[in-house]
Symmetry: C2
Subunit: 313 residues, 2 copies
């Protein structure tokens, strides 16, 4: 695949996603220059030290000047402010996109602030880790993952194609979707799992009958899987909850309803019902592995890593 | 560490745990002979083909004859039957242990059936993967993991020491605990996470507004983490639910209460409360990694494996 040519890409926000983009853009030569903007001067200095871009500024307006592609990589609650800050300096015909985990709210915040002569194509790469900040990024983050674009009706097809080509050059596969449907899909595949993980870790942390050290020592029996998600960036996830409220509440309600039914089966010793549920969930993992969306090794491949790091007895 | 010497170890049940024990016993020469017993002749044949033992039988009584150590590795609901089946053939002074995920119920099932002249020391290695069956085991499974022993009051100290030495030779660290407390601790670190995972995968599977293919495609955003636990052996987990009911119901009630409070914070847009919860759960993962109970790489180290398996663009 030939490299997508942008003369200048502006990254507004340089956390896990922004800094991963910086690295893959550099590695695959997807732009001549990269400008980096972030809110705090400490993060900006760190980005500079990591040589993530060619120019650095705390001003989004300055960063987007002359850019052909602007990628907003901030917590979704900050999208509106960024759009207003940079609007006046956007060059006509520039593609403006974002990487936010909610789409309806981002569109509501950004669209009114942006001039009519730019191509605004909201986006969401389905990729991440539990780490955050400019040090956490890596060029392979998007490899094999999906990126969802939610262009408003009437968006220039050539611009959508150019942005799709860009994400493909980053290693992603690209889908298009309506923003409402995106928010519903993400509520079940991402936002609900995240909330459940935060919640169970909170419940364990609050127990007075089981000590924290016991939770930690015996976490390999299941609990530790949840702590990964629960170590994610709190600002990002607060903003997701505040900006995808209705879809999240809908999924939470369904989850709780199902959990009440499971609880009842346990209380009444309904072994057949438990066995049925526990059997039918098994095939989904198989499908996910077949689709290339998880690794085909037991325990996420952790045992290999653990064994290598353990002292011999 | 010198090898623990047992002349003959009997493994009753040869699934993930039993077959991992067989492999580590062989590899580290922890017994002169291993007898393998399992309920179905198909599994027995598979164990034979994998050369997991020295003798093979579908009769627990036959397997335990002359054994110095008997390890029962069956779903906890089958413990009582196994104890009754093998009781008459147990040699005086033999150590009888198990690997079940619940301890109070296993003791209630097994203790009455066992003769007084054996050392019954219930146990639980906190180790596993989502795979099951004799092919799923591996010798490193117990390396760096805890094994909890719940010996009844008055148990012979030398026997407890011998069993502790055995588990340490398998790579484990050994703790002792009261069976009631074990069941409470495991309810939060293992049984609740497992049920939550089954439940959320069930909820996603039932949705009529989001297709199964969308759930699979976008699962890398969080959901896939839960599918690993939800791929675990249904029989084992049905039995756990039926055999640790009270502690599980207590933990489910606390989890649901906390979830209702989180739901309310989302409904009312209480960003501070969300931020507080999402921040305080972060440190637990750090402690788990420091305790050597999870790997210190982002995303459980999956990105490395995925990248290596992906075709280049």
């Amino acid at each position: 695949m030939s490299n997508v040519q942008f003369k200048k890409i502006a990254l507004i926000g340089i956390g896990l996603i922004g800094s991963s983009l910086a690295r893959v853009i550099r590695e695959r030569q997807l732009a001549e220059t990269i400008s980096v903007s972030t809110r705090t001067s400490e993060t900006l200095e760190r980005a500079h030290a990591l040589e993530l871009g060619d120019s650095y500024t705390t001003s989004p307006a300055e960063a987007v000047r002359d850019a052909d592609l602007v990628i907003v990589c901030v917590p979704v609650g900050a999208s509106g402010r960024v759009a207003r800050d940079m609007a006046a300096e956007l060059k006509p015909g520039v593609i403006v996109t974002d990487v936010g985990s909610t789409k309806k709210s981002v569109i509501e915040q950004m669209a009114p602030a942006l001039p009519d002569n730019v191509h605004f194509i909201p986006g969401h790469p389905i990729a991440g880790t539990e780490h955050s900040g400019p040090d956490a990024g890596f060029a392979q983050l998007f490899q094999g993952r999906w990126c969802i674009l939610t262009p408003p009706p009437g968006t220039d097809e050539a611009a959508i194609e150019a942005l799709s080509d860009f994400w493909q050059a980053c290693g992603s596969m690209v889908d298009r979707m309506d923003p409402d449907h995106h928010d519903l899909v993400l509520a079940i595949v991402s936002h609900l799992p995240q909330l459940i993980a935060y919640n169970i870790v909170g419940t364990a942390d609050d127990l007075e009958t089981v000590t924290k050290s016991q939770v930690i020592k015996y976490s390999a029996s299941g609990f530790r899987d949840f702590t990964r998600l629960a170590a994610s960036d709190p600002t990002m996830w607060r903003d997701v909850c505040l900006n995808n409220r209705d879809a999240i509440l809908e999924m939470l309600a369904r989850f709780s309803e199902d959990l009440a039914s499971l609880q009842r089966a346990i209380r009444w010793g309904d072994g057949d019902k438990l066995f049925d549920l526990f059997s039918r969930t098994r095939h989904i993992r198989k499908s996910i592995i077949e689709a290339g969306q998880d690794v085909d090794v037991p325990d996420f491949g952790r045992h290999v890593a653990v064994t290598e790091n353990q002292p011999e007895n």
